[in-house]
Amino acid sequence: MRSALSSPQEGSISWSSDERAWPEVQVLRWIGPIAVIAALAGIAVIQLHPVMDRSMLERGALSVILSYQRALPLLGLGCALATVRSREAALGAILAVVGLWLGFAFRDSLINSVVSGSATTGRLGLPGPISCLFVGLVLAAPPRLRAWLLPPTAILVGAMLAIGIKLVDPSFHDPNFLRGGVAAGVWLVGAVGLTVHLCYRPWLGIGMRILGSWLVAIGLMLAASMLVPRPAIGALPPPEPAAGLERPGSQDLFPDSPAAGDRKSRFAQPGLDPLLQ
């Protein structure tokens, strides 16, 4: 078993001899790459199907794998699980499933709490960025801290995945879409985790931290881009009129109407800020 996984400056990797004594364990170690290859083939087959012929199961799977907002946090979680001890990785995987269940169980109340007030559309897109942010922090953290941060993050990522799948479900009620999404998510975490675990080298610790910083940056930028209001089309200020020319409409077309006269005096209210007036 891997006793410690960290960057070259912080520790070293050791492989105990008992693992090499069990040939079936060696075979099991290749499950990750095999799963990656098999699933890539599966994605290619699904992609070859015409869009209209795809089942809800396939659509659910693709909605997770082909969406970087959902795929990136899962990829990061897989990497994080691969860089901690086996017990911690197992606990993290279990907690991710628990989070998934919690997300499905309480999704309605969670979504309802978000769908209120302004910028609702932006906030509905936040599950992906939130997952990216927290998974990135776990990966960028020192190995000891990573082990502590991983369990709560695994729950969060699972819950956010559940909400994210539900929000993009076009059928609203077809359980196959959810099954496809969940299966794809579990596959992604498992395949990436097992593959990274197999291929792990000390210098990959650097790559993991860099990946973590990317995920944090992506999470921040995604969240901000969803929450910051975009400028409306045609919201640019009108050009200033040329000197000596009056603005159209500045003249009183109806001198006898109540709108004519001193506008300032009509809007003047005692006690009000002159700027507001």
């Binding site: 650097i206 990317w214 930028m221 910051v228």
Partner: protein
């Protein structure tokens, strides 16, 4: 070449003084180094932007090379810090917070990072991180200002950050490869070329 000397912190004062004079001489011509390309798009344009924009590419690349040249924790600390602070700068830009002389800061980042590599400057890690952080804010801010106008800001941001990270990795790889041959002189010569690029962006 004057900049290919014995790389150490001993040359830091002359290094700083030399480039301070150069920068002060060029400041009136504050260059508009960063190429703002109007309406940005989705993931593809966001990914392409750092790769095709020479100013951004040179700065990101230099961060990786400098980290590799410094060695130790700096190999990963610099490339990890840069995107994080860059995201903060991006947020500031998106929120419309004022930050003057961003383009000058971007051009200076290329010049300073290239010079640091060329002189083999190895400051205390905190100093390097602060320097990197200041430049990262400038780079992030410039892109953050553009983001709300993008066709798909979220996709654009994701592509942009991933491409930036890949350039860092490229820089680290090139830096590690060039550190050994000729006692690192190749790496320093590369830094001089980057610094020359910074001068170009300042002047033009």
């Amino acid at each position: 070449m004057f900049w290919i000397g014995k790389g150490s912190t001993a040359g830091a004062p002359s290094f700083v003084a030399f480039w301070a004079v150069i920068v002060l001489a060029l400041m009136p011509n504050g260059a508009f180094a960063h190429i703002i390309q109007g309406q940005a798009g989705g993931f593809g344009p966001g990914f392409e932007h750092p790769l095709t924009g020479p100013d951004h590419f040179l700065a990101m690349f230099a961060v990786g090379v400098w980290g590799a040249q410094m060695g130790g924790r700096a190999v990963w600390a610099l490339p990890v810090t840069f995107p994080l602070i860059m995201a903060m700068g991006g947020l500031a830009g998106m929120l419309g917070m004022p930050l003057p002389h961003v383009e000058l800061g971007i051009a200076l980042s290329i010049l300073a990072l290239g010079s640091a590599i060329a002189f083999g400057w190895r400051p205390v890690e905190a100093v390097a991180l602060i320097l990197i952080g200041v430049f990262a804010i400038c780079h992030g801010y410039a892109h953050g200002v553009e983001l709300p106008n993008a066709a798909d800001p979220a996709d654009y941001a994701a592509g942009f950050v991933i491409a930036t990270g890949l350039i860092h990795l490229l820089g680290v790889g090139v830096g590690l490869a060039l550190n050994k041959p000729l006692e690192g002189r190749l790496s320093r010569a590369l830094g001089a070329v980057i610094a020359a690029g910074g001068v170009y962006f300042l002047v033009v």
